[in-house]
Structure formats: C-alpha cells, structure tokens
C-alpha cells in the first residue's frame, strides 16, 4: 500500500463523514424550517470568529478537560466513573466551605488551600465507589450514579442553609446561592472571562500523560484495567489501584469544580456542574482516553456547547435542536474514527483500487 493511497483514504473518509453529518443535520434543520446555512455558521464558525467567543469556548473546555482526564485514569484502570457530576459538586462544596470559613487568609495561601479542599472533597466522593468495587465488587455504575443524586441534593441543601448568602435572607429574593467569595480565592483572568484554569488544565494533561505512561504506578493501573486477572497474577494489587484510580478521578472532578468557582462564578450557585460530569465521559472516550486526544476533544465539545447557546439568539433555532445536531455530529465522527482504524477495510479498498487500476492500465 502506498503512502499517498493511505493519505487519500483517510482524507476521503473524513470528507465523506463530514458531508454525511452536514447532510443529516441539514435535513433536521430543514424539517423545522430553519435557515440551514446560517445555523451552521452560528454553531461552527461564529464561536471562532473573535477572541471573545474563543475565550468563552475555552472557559467551557477547561472543566471538561480536567474532568475527562480524571475519567480516563479510572477507565484505563478498569472502572467507569460516571459520578464526576457528583464529585464536582463535592469539590464545589469543599472549596466554598474553605473560602467562607477563612476569608481573611492571604491569597497565596487561601487559593491553594481551597483548591486542595476541592481535590479532597471530590477525591473522597470518588474513593467511595472505588473501594466498594475493590472490596465488595459493587457495580460502579450503580454506586456512582446514586452518589450523584446524593451530592446534588446535599449541594442544594447547603446552598439553602449554611452557605446561604446573608443578604438573601435580608432581601428575601430567595435565590439559593452563597455570598460572593473573597477575592483571596479568585483565579486571575487572562482575557475577558478566560482564567488561568486553562494553564492548570494543560499542565494536568501533561501530568496525566507522565503518570499513566512513564511511571510504574500508571503501568500497574493500566495493567489492572486491561487484564485484571493477569495483573493479579503479576503481583499487582488490583483492588488498591482500582480504588486509587477512582480517588484520582474524583479528585480531578472536584478540582474542576474548584477551578470553575475560582475562575468563573466566584460564588456557589446552582447549575455550575452544567452536566460537565457526563459530557466529560464523552470527551474522555472521544479523546481516545489519552491526554493528547482529550485536550483537543474538550475544545471541540466546548465549541459545541457554546455554539448551542449562540444559536437561539442569532438564528432563532432552539438550543434543543442544536443538541440533536451535536449528537449526530458526534456519532458520525466516532463512526469515521472506527472506519479509519479498521485495517481490514482499508486493505479491501486498496485491492479494489488496484484491480481498477489494472483494468484501466
């Protein structure tokens, strides 16, 4: 097989899949009577048209990236973490707790302290399903989802009681939210609302790469995930690494919550988790469970999420329809990825191509 054929093969698959995705999405838009080309422009190109929009895309990519990195660690170690939503909420609570309790501690101390609290909060919430699976073989699908419910309600309760902004009580507007957190826990901003969480996410991506592929701990985690029986045979305590990987995964989700609070919202309100915990699973898988795939994947998903918020105001297409289109685009891209990685299919096309050439030549 020649190199140029290989490149041509890949390029044509990508082109075909993009065309297919656009076609399917267009049909849906056409059915609801929207302007097809304007909508596409609003979703895909408008978010990239100026710095302000790009920074908004990145703001959404940051928590996605951090959460997906954690999920990839757990997934590689053989446990599927769909509890990032709850772990993130616990991170938010811990971060807010520290910020409210010590408002006067100087920033160089308080910000790291609050972030560490978020890491511990999320980490503990992740450790619970991890240890349950390791010791008692409790399905993580069950335990993480249930812990999501508990965390969400607990978060909601705290916002209405101990964390409730005293001003709310005075004015009685009834919005369940904490007071604005002290400036001592704020993350600085690069431009617009874009904050230094961006650097944290990129550093973490490198860190996860080193951890999983360059250290013995990562080796053992991956061994436990890809062949638990063989890992046990090889003297690796699979249960330990299972629980540890879930704690790491939870810690990342918790940290994502802390960063989100410190960089964007700066007070605890409802809806901060924004389904990032679930989108993170898709980002992690979409990024091939590898940090260098997860970084661009989180940017893409950030783009889609932000694009769906622009579409209603710009072209009057409801956000729900945009989500439907996103679903289609993702499925098509994933399918194209699978086709691209299928050596048998590629080989078959190559032989057909050769036969064709022979006939003509």
């Amino acid at each position: 097989m020649t190199k140029s054929f290989r490149i041509a093969f890949k390029a044509s698959i990508i082109i075909i899949s993009v065309v297919a995705a656009i076609l399917m999405a267009s049909i849906i838009l056409w059915l609801i009577g929207a302007d097809v080309s304007d909508t596409f422009f609003a979703i895909v190109f408008e978010p990239l048209s100026n710095m302000l929009h790009i920074s908004e895309v990145l703001i959404r990519a940051i928590p996605l990236c951090i959460i997906a990195l954690g999920i990839s660690v757990a997934y590689r170690s053989g446990i599927i973490n769909i509890g990032a939503e709850g772990q993130m909420a616990m991170g938010l609570l811990a971060f807010t707790g520290v910020a409210l309790a010590f408002p006067d501690v100087p920033r160089p101390l308080l910000l790291p302290l609050a972030l560490i609290a978020a890491v511990i909060g999320g980490g503990l919430w992740g450790f619970i399903p991890g240890i349950l699976k390791a010791k008692l073989n409790v399905s993580e699908l069950l335990s993480t989802v249930m812990l999501n419910y508990i965390a969400a309600q607990f978060y909601s309760l705290c916002l209405r009681t101990i964390y409730l902004d005293p001003a709310e009580q005075v004015y009685g507007t009834g919005t369940p939210q904490s007071m604005r957190l002290t400036e001592n826990v704020w993350l600085g901003r690069i431009t617009g609302r874009l904050h230094y969480g961006l650097l944290i996410a990129i550093v973490l991506a490198v860190l996860i790469y080193v951890l999983m592929w360059k250290t013995t701990v990562g080796f053992k985690m991956r061994a436990s995930g890809s062949g638990a029986r063989a890992a046990r045979y090889g003297g690796i305590s699979v249960g330990f690494y299972l629980a540890a990987s879930m704690a790491i995964s939870g810690a990342f989700a918790g940290l994502a919550g802390g960063v989100e609070l410190a960089g964007v919202h700066r007070r605890a309100i409802e809806g901060i988790t924004n389904n990032y915990g679930f989108s993170g699973v898709v980002v992690a898988l979409f990024g091939g469970l590898h940090p260098f795939g997860i970084v661009p994947a989180s940017f893409l998903f950030g783009l889609l999420i932000y694009g769906s918020t622009l579409a209603p105001s710009m072209v009057g297409v409801p956000a729900n329809i945009v989500q439907v289109m996103q679903g289609i685009i993702i499925i098509v891209i994933v399918t194209a990825q699978m086709v691209l990685s299928n050596a048998y299919f590629q080989n078959r096309v190559w032989r057909k191509y050769q036969a064709l050439m022979k006939k003509e030549g």
Binding site: T216, R229, Y233, G234, G235, S237
Partner: protein, 505 residues
C-alpha cells in the same frame, strides 16, 4: 438439499490480511467418505483456509468446486446449504440456553424460516441415535463439560444436514479420555460423511485420516496418503526439520527440598474441597510431574502455591519460609516462577505490548525503573534480547501480546519467568494446544532450567510430556496425592490406573 458431495476441491486459494499472506496458492481435494487431515504449525493458515471454505472469508484468488461445479459462498449460510458444516475451535454455543435451543439457533442462522422446537428436538434425537452421539436435548450448555459441548456442536452441525464436516482442532480442549472417545466416534461417522480436520497432534492424524496435507507459512508443503508415512516423517515435514522431543536423562542427585506442601486444604470456585490434605515435597534440580485427570485439584494447587487462592488449612513452605496465604507479590519476591494455565488471560495482559508483558512482574523492581519512573530504554533492550533468545515470532516488541499465536504467547511467558531467575517454577499445561516445534522448544527450556538446579512442578494432562521430562511423577486424584513414583517405576498403565483412583496394594 440432499445432494451428495462426491468431491470437494479448493484450487489456488490465496488470501492476504493486512501485512500477512495467510494462504498462498493452496489447493486441496477430498473425495466422498475420505478424511483429510490438515496439519501445520500455529499460524500456518489452516483455520483461514477453512474459514474461506465456509464462506466466512472471501479468497483474493482461487476457486472452490463441489462435484466439479464451481461454487461461490458469500457467507456461512451458502456453505450450510451446500452441505458443509464446521465445528470451530472455540464453540459457538449460548451458555444459558438448552441444547435444543442452541440447535434451533443454528437453524435460524442457516436461513431456515419455519421450524419449531419440537421438530428440532426430534431431529436431535434422530441424529444422536444414528451416530451414537449421546446428548441430553434439555440440558443447559453451562451444565456440560467441554467434551459434551463439542458433541452438541457436532449434533448441531449434523442436524443442519451437513454431509461434509470441518473440525478445527477438535481435540485441543479435551481430556485424553475424551479424545479417545471422539476418535472412535469420528471413525464411525466416516462411513457416511467426508471430514476435513485440522490438527497438529500426529497421533490423531494417524488414527483418523486417509490423506494428509501439510501447510507451512501459508503454503502446501506436502500432500499424501497417511498410511505411507510415519508420525516422525509427518512431524519433520510439518516443522521443516526433524523433531526429536528432548528427554530427561535422569542422573544428578536430588538436592534439598525447596517446596513443601503440607496437609493443604483448598476450596474450588464452587466452594467444594479441591485439595484434600495434599502433601508434596519437591527438591532443587528435579522436575516433579503431576499427573491426573484434569479437575482433580491441579489448578487449585498451582494457585494456592502462588498466593492466588486461599489455603484453608495446612502449610506451604518455600525455601524454609512459610508462604501460606501470602500475597502474590510476596511469593513472587520470594523467588517463585509461575506459568499459569490460562496463558491468554492470566499469563499476559493481552492489550499490553510484548515488552510491557516482559516486565509485568518487575516493573518497579529497580531494574526497569528508578524512583517510580519507568526506564524505557532498559525495557526495550531487555525485550529485544528476549525476543531474539526465545525466538518469539512477532512484528516487533511493541506488538500487542494478545495478537500473537498461542505458541508465541507461551514463549513470552516463559521468557519472562526464566529471565527473572526464579528459585522454583510451577508450570501448568505449558504446551497445551501448541505445535510440535513449540513443544520441542519449551521442553528443552524446561530441562535447561532443571540443569541449572531449579526445581519444577510440571502439571500436565499429556502423559508423554510428564514421562519424558519428570524425575518423579506424583499422581493426583480428588485433591490428594495417590502416590509418587520414580521415573523408572512409572509406566503408562500404572499411571493410568492410579489416575483413575485405584489404590495400589
């Protein structure tokens, strides 16, 4: 539907997979009532060729003729319809369905639209009485032994009206008794059917086939009548050189006791006693073969020694230290080597590369890492060396170990265990399902380890293997040692009687 198959020919079949020429211009032919043995080492292209015949793969070149008429099978349904049936190496049965339901599934897959379970059941009874294939139509698959499952596969194939059987390594998972039964059964069937069977066990080839075709690296290297050639000749043609399985010549005095299992009681997965006050001592520099019908506690013994199964009572003493119920890590560190029964799932991490599997036990030993960081260069160098020394056939050290053939996987495991310089080695079914070339290699490596003064516990079902390699032979029956025989005292007959549970004297 009931056309007879007077002759079947495959001519000039060529098939390539990405990067591999799997079959290269292969031609075979089988007449009515004939049995063709398709012989060759692992990876020679036998299974690929049969999958082409069944329509599972399309050949790049070449044609298939039935009764001299060219046929084209687009899928297995077409092959079924023409009267071909294949029993795969791994059985295609649904474990939580009954025998009847599984056969009915086969009907569906063969494209038959109208049938009910009652007809299927009647057909099963008809077929099983006709060929002497006794199966209980109402039994669930999970209740059946491997040998019985194979009978179900045969019945299923015959119920679909197969008049031409293809059997892919039919004996690889069977116990010696089951193998004998199967051979008798197939001999009876040849009166009405033609058979192609894939094998690399020459004993069966001699017992069953009229014709033999040998494949090597995707090419036919030999075709002829089985009776005209001896097993030795066929073996030599298969590997390309003469095969002489090495023997333990004895000599050497026994060293000190290295491993001592004392009154061990261990439970099976089903919580029934698997080891029953088992006692066994093994010394440095000797191979002790553990003979027995499988399922008598062999697996549990190996796992208990290696810390992978709880010892309920009794002791296991290794080099003077009590290792009972220690963790696998502690036992590995004490110097235990272990070639496990399940080479594909336990001996290697399948998606891991060959080099990663080489260091599975030692990644944090300081040899391949410093302060938690993996030393990639050191691992690469070691892996290159081991691949060469153990002749692991692979595209490179970064290849996923799970994609290798059985023989090469076993070489990877053996290489890892030997390179670790263990003080003792437990080898469980080390050559099961491997071709003669690989068996020869592994046997001679085991003897080399013995020469270097290391004790080996060799667990095997193959009496020849045990008798060739062992200094002493222990016979296990229902979880305890019946008797330990010296190499000189052990005969096939005597071992057979002991394995059946008959006490001597």
């Amino acid at each position: 539907m009931d056309r007879r198959i007077k002759s079947l020919k495959m001519e000039h079949i060529t098939k390539t997979f990405p990067g591999v020429l799997a079959t290269d211009d292969i031609s075979i032919s089988v007449g009515e009532g004939e049995v063709l043995a398709l012989v060759g080492e692992n990876g020679a292209g036998k299974t690929t060729l049969m999958n082409i015949l069944m329509g599972l793969y399309q050949p790049d070149e070449g044609q298939i003729f039935i009764n001299d008429v060219p046929v084209h099978f687009k899928g297995p349904e077409d092959a079924f319809r023409a009267g071909l049936g294949m029993v795969h190496q791994t059985y295609m049965l649904v474990a939580n369905m009954t025998v009847t339901e599984n056969v009915a599934l086969g009907y569906r897959n063969a494209g038959e639209k109208h049938f009910d379970l009652k007809t299927v059941r009647r057909r099963i009874e008809e077929v099983s009485s006709r060929y002497g294939l006794m199966v209980n139509p109402d039994a669930y698959i999970w209740q059946l032994s491997v040998g019985e499952q194979q009978k179900v596969e045969l019945v299923k194939t015959l119920c679909l009206g197969a008049r031409f059987l293809i059997l892919d390594e039919p004996t690889s998972a069977l116990t010696p008794q089951e193998v004998d039964e199967l051979i008798v059964l197939l001999q009876r069937m040849t009166k009405e059917l033609s058979i192609i069977f894939i094998s690399h066990k020459l004993q069966e080839v001699k017992a069953l086939s009229n014709k033999v075709t040998i494949l090597r690296h995707g090419k036919v290297v030999f075709s002829g009548n089985t009776d005209d050639y001896s097993s030795q000749e066929i073996a030599a043609k298969m590997t390309g050189h003469d095969i002489v399985l090495p023997m333990n010549e004895g000599g050497k005095k026994r060293g000190e006791t290295v491993l001592s299992v004392q009154n061990a009681v261990v439970m099976s997965d089903r919580k029934t006693p698997a080891l029953n006050n088992l006692n066994l001592d093994i010394s440095a520099g000797e191979i002790v073969g553990l003979a027995g019908v499988s399922g008598n506690g062999q697996r549990e013994l190996a796992e208990a020694i290696n810390g992978l199964r709880k010892v309920e009572s009794g002791n296991i003493v290794f080099l003077g230290k009590d290792i009972t119920n220690k963790t696998p890590r502690e036992i590995i560190d004490a110097g235990m080597g272990y070639i496990p029964e399940e080479r594909n799932t336990e001996g290697i991490v399948p998606p891991f590369s060959i080099k990663e599997n080489f260091v599975l036990k030692d990644v944090s030993s300081g040899l391949f890492s410093s302060a938690c960081f993996i030393n990639g260069k050191k691992i690469d160098a070691t892996a290159e060396k081991l691949v060469k020394r153990f002749d692991v056939r692979c595209p490179g050290i970064d290849t996923a170990a799970g994609s290798l053939s059985g023989g090469n996987i076993q070489k990877v495991i053996l290489a890892r265990e030997i390179e670790r310089h263990p003080k003792f080695l437990v080898a469980v079914y080390p050559t099961r399902g491997l071709d003669m070339g690989a068996v020869e290699f592994i046997h001679s490596e085991l003897l080399k380890i013995r020469e270097s003064g290391i004790g080996i516990l060799l667990i095997s079902e193959e009496l020849d293997e045990i008798m060739n390699l062992s200094d002493r032979i222990a016979v296990i029956y229902k979880g305890s040692i019946q008797r330990v025989l010296d190499k000189k005292e052990a005969t096939r007959e005597r071992l057979g009687i002991l394995m059946a549970g008959v006490k001597e004297e």
